[in-house]
Symmetry: C2
């Protein structure tokens, strides 16, 4: 408990940083450069005394003369030469997990930007932190520079949250924004995103929706006081979104965004990540490019929207630093908002019970009876249609796999149940009038 | 210092509430209703034990049986029967000031929603709080349910703020939104706002911009680490905004919003409240109706936008409660973000040195030479024009006071200095071709 006492004193706070990539190096630079300003604010000094990184020789624009170097992040985490451990290594297991655990176990406060680690081990780590009396900050883990963790843990009083949704992956939002503005394909946008450093060489983690799912799992726990359940999330990425989808959605007054959404329902908590039709007039529709945004719908506050940079060295380092400042002040809040013993088990609301509107794009064979089959199956299922659109310019493929000509039909349904829509689509497929898989995009009422 | 010790214990936190209007009654109801949930979160009980209000008999939907009633807020503030004092009386002086001072002087933490009090006496109150070791929370004082104070005091790490701007008065935003959507006059919108309870019988404080100025003064202090200077703010209200202004601005791609803006400039800090042309594509342009929003532009985080309800019982009470929870946890942060001794004096950047674009609407006499006079005076002043619009449908008044026919001319300037624009307008007036006062609205680059 020596470390805990140290964090409340007015002695300099000695910080150890593991991982000197973009965020880590930026953090060290800020603390070295703005030290005086921070001291003025805090009444105590912040000083990075030790670091751990693969290369000691790389020029990162930081002062290294007075730094103690570690090769092993666990050794740094446990070292008595630091009062606070910052984990910026990344990865849900391996050295990041080992080091964070080691620090918390000796009662040393930890700040991390690692969403995968939190999503996977957040409850276990919060429990260790509680037992040893250490603090655990992770503002930077969700939506980079947007203080959404602090807002959820501390800022909303007693407000009970009904739904949280957000754009939490800059890569996907960049791609969808450019597809919308410039009429170019997913593949072309992705290539540009890779060139600009917005997307990884293997983009699956981003464009497949998994990165958003990690962040959503953390938010859902904070919003609903439940355990973190990253494996219970329905996840669909953006790879199937075509120009036709963006164009028709636009004509109907919608934009397509990759949203992570968690909401209370009668059956439990729904957690889902999928491309979503959002009304152009909604605030979140205006969040474009690499920007992120999180909306919180509460009983008391109605809706709160936080928008800003979701990634990048300076915004992320700024969030890491806000956690460091809280710890330096001796301020404490349970890592997941409530003590871990008070977390309720996560009860998954099944996706087939999801209620909402649907955008459906079908390739129908260009023969008599096709539209009648589609319309009568939807009618029989009790699905009420808001719009039906068939236009020559929406043809996605001219011919089906069997060589027949096809035409593109888009349906917008009123609110219905996911299971009902899927059943109706299976029946439409069995009628033999459509070619290929239907495109199905959920509409969110905002 | 007995009270300070109490706030860090796990004993129930006894709360005294002065002022049981909408916000006060809602707060008491929430604490009474959600007590168990709050205890689960905090590990300690919150209980409202004492109140002070004019009428004891009015039905406010709260349990009154166990409440101790005070007639004098100062007596409540000083009473040893409470651990925390909540001031919801309102007013910048009088009983609110006396009670808050009394509580802080005996070391009792205070939470208030009173922007006028904070704008006027914030530094003095923060100093008393520092001396006695009491906390002072005022999340609800700016932008109701939006946690902008917490974000500025704690959430932005070391980020240095370059500009803060926001829509901080729901009455004005409601009026401007309806004028824009429905094409009706300021007067008609104001009457409706009054009917709906969004505007006071005497609306001057809201529509004159003074309410926004109070909030801006508080934000500017938190953003720039300077003393609060409510009297150094340039304030213009929205009463002169006509349908013609909204229409032309709309045609040119702008909306008109009442913004409070504070920014660093070479000359010091500019604080100004005025109707503003904002690009329709900007995030803040989408904040309509009674909603509020605050945007923070920092070196590190680029821009952060927080949008949500700026008033109303539940959102405001939720913000009051978030301050109460921080205090119940024993968390501490200097009221103005830095210790008062570290606040720098406020250095006002003069409005005449303001740089920006201008929208200018003139009533020119319908005689040869009018436009030439205007254009040559602007050119001679070195003011470059982005747009010049003269259309028959923009005629605001058909005849000048001298009976001559007039036509409306709108100019949009590129960025220039306020003093230069004012000088050019004075010269144009002296040429005798215009009738009445020119309308001048600043354009903000967002």
């Amino acid at each position: 408990m020596q470390e805990h006492a140290d964090t409340q004193s007015s002695a300099p706070l000695r910080i150890g940083v593991a991982g000197l990539g973009n965020v880590g190096a930026t953090l060290v630079r800020i603390i070295q450069k703005d030290g005086l300003e921070l001291t003025r604010k805090l009444g105590r000094k912040l000083v990075v005394t030790a670091v751990c990184a693969r290369s000691r020789s790389r020029d990162r624009g930081i002062e290294t003369a007075e730094l103690e170097w570690f090769d092993d992040p666990v050794a740094l985490a446990k070292s008595d030469s630091i009062d606070l451990f910052v984990e910026l290594i990344g990865g849900e297991d391996g050295p990041a997990l080992a080091a964070v655990k080691a620090a918390l176990e000796v009662g040393r406060p930890v700040v991390t930007a690692n969403k995968a680690l939190l999503a996977r081990h957040g409850v276990a780590l919060a429990r260790i932190a509680e037992e040893s009396g250490a603090q655990l900050g992770f503002e930077a883990a969700v939506a980079g520079g947007i203080p959404v963790i602090k807002t959820l843990r501390e800022g909303l009083g007693s407000a009970r949250i009904a739904r949280v949704y957000g754009i939490m992956n800059g890569t996907c939002n960049y791609i969808l924004t450019r597809m919308g503005n410039e009429g170019i394909s997913f593949e072309e946008c992705l290539r540009d995103a890779q060139k600009l450093g917005y997307a990884e060489a293997d983009p699956t983690f981003d464009v497949g929706g998994f990165d958003t799912a990690h962040k959503l799992a953390i938010l859902a726990s904070l919003c609903f006081g439940c355990e973190i359940a990253p494996d219970e999330i329905f996840v669909e990425g953006i790879t199937s979104i075509s120009q036709a989808d963006i164009k028709v959605a636009g004509d109907l007054g919608y934009k397509i965004k990759l949203l992570g959404i968690a909401q209370r329902s009668a059956d439990g908590i729904e957690q889902r990540v999928h491309p979503t039709l959002v009304p152009k007039t909604s605030a979140i529709a205006g969040v474009d490019g690499v920007l992120n945004a999180v909306a919180l719908e509460t009983d008391h506050v109605h809706e709160l929207l936080l928008a800003g940079p979701g990634a990048g060295g300076p915004p992320t380092a700024s969030s890491v630093l806000s956690d460091i400042l809280d710890i330096a002040r001796g301020n404490r809040v349970p890592p997941l908002g409530v003590p871990t013993a008070e977390l309720i088990p996560y009860r998954q609301a099944p996706m087939r019970a999801h209620q909402g509107g649907y955008y459906i794009r079908l390739n129908a064979k260009d023969i008599p009876g096709a539209l009648a089959s589609i319309a009568s199956r939807m009618g029989a299922a009790g699905i009420s249609l808001e719009s039906v659109i068939q236009r020559p310019d929406l043809r996605v493929t001219d011919t089906g796999s069997d060589g027949s000509k096809t035409r593109t039909i888009v349906l917008l349904t009123h609110s219905t149940m996911e299971a009902t829509v899927r059943e109706a689509l299976a029946q439409i497929a069995s009628d033999g009038f459509i070619v290929g898989e239907p495109q199905l995009i959920r509409i969110e009422t905002l």
